[in-house]
């Protein structure tokens, strides 16, 4: 099997034996759970589109190791063309789902490991790259979704891993065995964790010798013994339990995050890609972060949906011709396309690493992500401005359907005579969903903190900005000789 269909993907998840908790109870049917299921459908879209001829040029690619056609989410970038198509794929899927489709993080982990395992082998007699390629072949052949797990709970942010009062606040090796290692700790904010077949663990920051037990990278089946998932809440999440098909806003798709706990989990050696090579932890973090900051191309696609919703709301409200409304829509487009510029630029300026993998331009990827920490918030503000306060004061769908209240809701929330009240309510609910409901987790706060918080990008921008060269240019022009 080189590429799964959406149906095969869902069936494959049903075979997993994940230990998932939500609202204090074990979730027995993860795939069928109404709160989790929309997120599974969003990942399934990455499988569905790969089989449609009108999307296959972006969604599929020929594997450089097997020569087979594979889903791009399992691919190692072989040129800037691949990097560009990755950015375009993000926009496409963001627009088709209106939410986080969760699968980019595993792709980014695979690509980062394809660079770093090679580089570790160049310094030490470790054999990680060969091991990684074997794992990659398995992922590609089975078209797996991987969770790229980097963020540790981190405990006291002022202390390195080895000085934490609770040593498990960074995931670490607690035992070395002849056949592998035993790890303990957790990874937080794991997007799409319970929709994944595999979990790829990486260290979360640069490390020194004292932290070598924490410098570990490996991959495990997501249902490996000792792994527990605790689902994160999302604003308005229980609307999915209410029945009906209006108040959720996005009726089809969503995202999810989870805390993933590793309680003395065994990892066989053939799944270990870094073991105490602490001097490469920083590189793995940086490479992964650069790829993942590019991945925020998806927000451009969600932005497309938000712009479309804002324009529709303006039309339904009867204000689309007002000059200030037009200007706000222009501003939203300007912001969204500026985001697109960043993810295209860092891809087209990509470079070849010693392993042969192409990596994005780090400076431009960080600039792009820094923009993503800001622009979606402004776009959300503009969308709410255009939508009007009704998007947060609307009665529920049940009131809209109730024999006692339907006539009043219908009558008093009617705007243009040629637009149904129901359609007006639907578009306002979608704006609510993206800007402060379940999808705001992905569109706003994930834009802020996902792939590193704003300050992390500013540090990278500072490192890569090459100030001496800019100073040289300035001094030369005004005649300074030192």
């Amino acid at each position: 099997m080189a590429m799964m269909t959406a149906e095969q993907y869902e069936e494959s998840l049903e075979k997993l034996n994940l230990v998932v908790y939500m609202f204090g109870e074990r979730v027995e049917d993860v795939v069928g759970n109404p709160i989790i299921r929309p997120s599974m459908k969003a990942v399934a879209k990455t499988y569905e589109l790969a089989h449609r001829s009108e999307y296959e040029d972006i969604m599929t690619v020929v594997s450089h190791i097997s020569g087979k056609k594979i889903n791009r989410f399992t691919h190692i970038h072989q040129g800037t063309r691949d990097l560009l198509k990755k950015s375009k794929m993000g926009r496409l899927l963001g627009r088709e789902t209106g939410c986080c489709f969760q699968r980019c993080v595993g792709m980014d982990a695979l690509n980062a490991l394809s660079i770093v395992t090679f580089d570790i082998d160049a310094k030490y007699p470790t054999g990680y790259y060969k091991r990684f390629l074997k794992y990659l072949e398995y992922v590609q052949e089975n078209d797996l979704t991987c969770d790229g797990a980097m963020t540790d709970p981190k405990g006291d942010r002022g202390l390195p891993p080895h000085k934490q009062p609770d040593p498990d606040h960074f995931l670490r090796v607690v035992k070395e065995r002849k056949d592998g290692i035993v790890v303990r700790g957790a990874k937080a904010h794991q997007t799409g964790a319970v929709n994944s077949h595999e979990v790829i663990v990486m260290p979360t920051l640069s490390m020194r010798k004292e932290d070598e037990d924490y410098a570990v990278s490996f991959a495990l089946p997501s249902d490996a013994e000792g792994i527990t998932y605790i689902m994160g809440r999302q604003s308005c999440d229980t609307r999915k339990l209410e029945g009906g098909n209006m108040d959720q806003g996005n009726l089809m798709f969503g995202g999810h995050e989870a805390l993933v706990v590793f309680d003395d989990v065994f990892v066989p050696w053939d799944r270990v890609f870094m073991y105490k090579e602490y001097d490469f932890a920083g590189q793995l973090v940086e490479d992964f972060a650069s790829y993942h900051r590019q991945s925020y191309a998806c927000k451009v696609g969600v932005g497309d949906v938000l712009i479309g919703a804002a324009q529709t709301a303006a039309e339904y409200n009867g204000v689309a011709r007002a000059s200030h409304i037009k200007d706000k829509i222009i501003e939203m487009n300007h912001l969204n396309e500026t985001l697109y510029c960043g993810c295209i630029a860092c891809a087209s300026e990509g470079h070849k690493e010693p392993s042969g993998t192409y990596c994005v331009n780090t400076l431009l990827a960080n600039v792009h992500k820094q923009n993503v920490t800001r622009f979606p918030y402004e776009m959300a503000r503009l969308a709410q401005d255009i939508a009007g306060g009704l998007m947060v004061t609307l009665p529920s769908e049940k009131d809209f359907r109730s024999p006692e209240t339907a006539k009043w809701v219908e009558k008093y929330f009617k705007a243009r005579p040629d637009v149904s009240t129901e359609n007006r309510m639907r578009i306002l609910r979608l704006i609510e969903n993206i800007t402060l409901g379940t999808a705001a987790v992905g569109y706003l706060t994930e834009s802020m903190h996902g792939a590193g918080s704003p300050q992390a990008q500013r540090i990278m921008i500072s490192r890569r900005a090459n100030l001496p060269e800019k100073q040289r240019a300035a001094k030369k022009l005004c005649g300074i000789e030192e």
Partner: protein, 96 residues
């Protein structure tokens, strides 16, 4: 009959409905053109349907084959006209 293989770009941000255009082309050229899979060995033309003028579809597997790209609806209609005119010319030659 002319054998045309349809190859789409990836559709990241198309400026029009590419699939609807192809359906329209197929409908208008029914009986005049045989639409085949683009990877078919005996394909005469690859019709590349691109969502915008960037036209980034990967055509590396179609080397040596005649390529005809359309990037908007008007170019799609032009393609239809070309095929119809081509058939008219072929029929006229046959009658002579």
């Amino acid at each position: 009959m002319l054998r045309v293989g349809v190859k789409y770009c990836g559709g990241c941000n198309p400026e029009y409905d590419r699939v609807a255009l192809v359906e329209q082309i197929k409908e208008r050229l029914e009986g005049k053109v045989s639409f085949v899979l683009p990877e078919s060995e005996d394909v005469d033309i690859i019709l590349v349907v691109c969502g915008c003028k960037t036209a980034c579809a990967d055509l590396s597997s179609f080397r040596g084959i005649k390529i005809r790209a359309v990037t908007n609806r008007e170019e799609g209609k032009k393609f239809i006209r070309e095929i119809i005119e081509r058939e008219v010319q072929i029929n006229a030659k046959a009658e002579k």
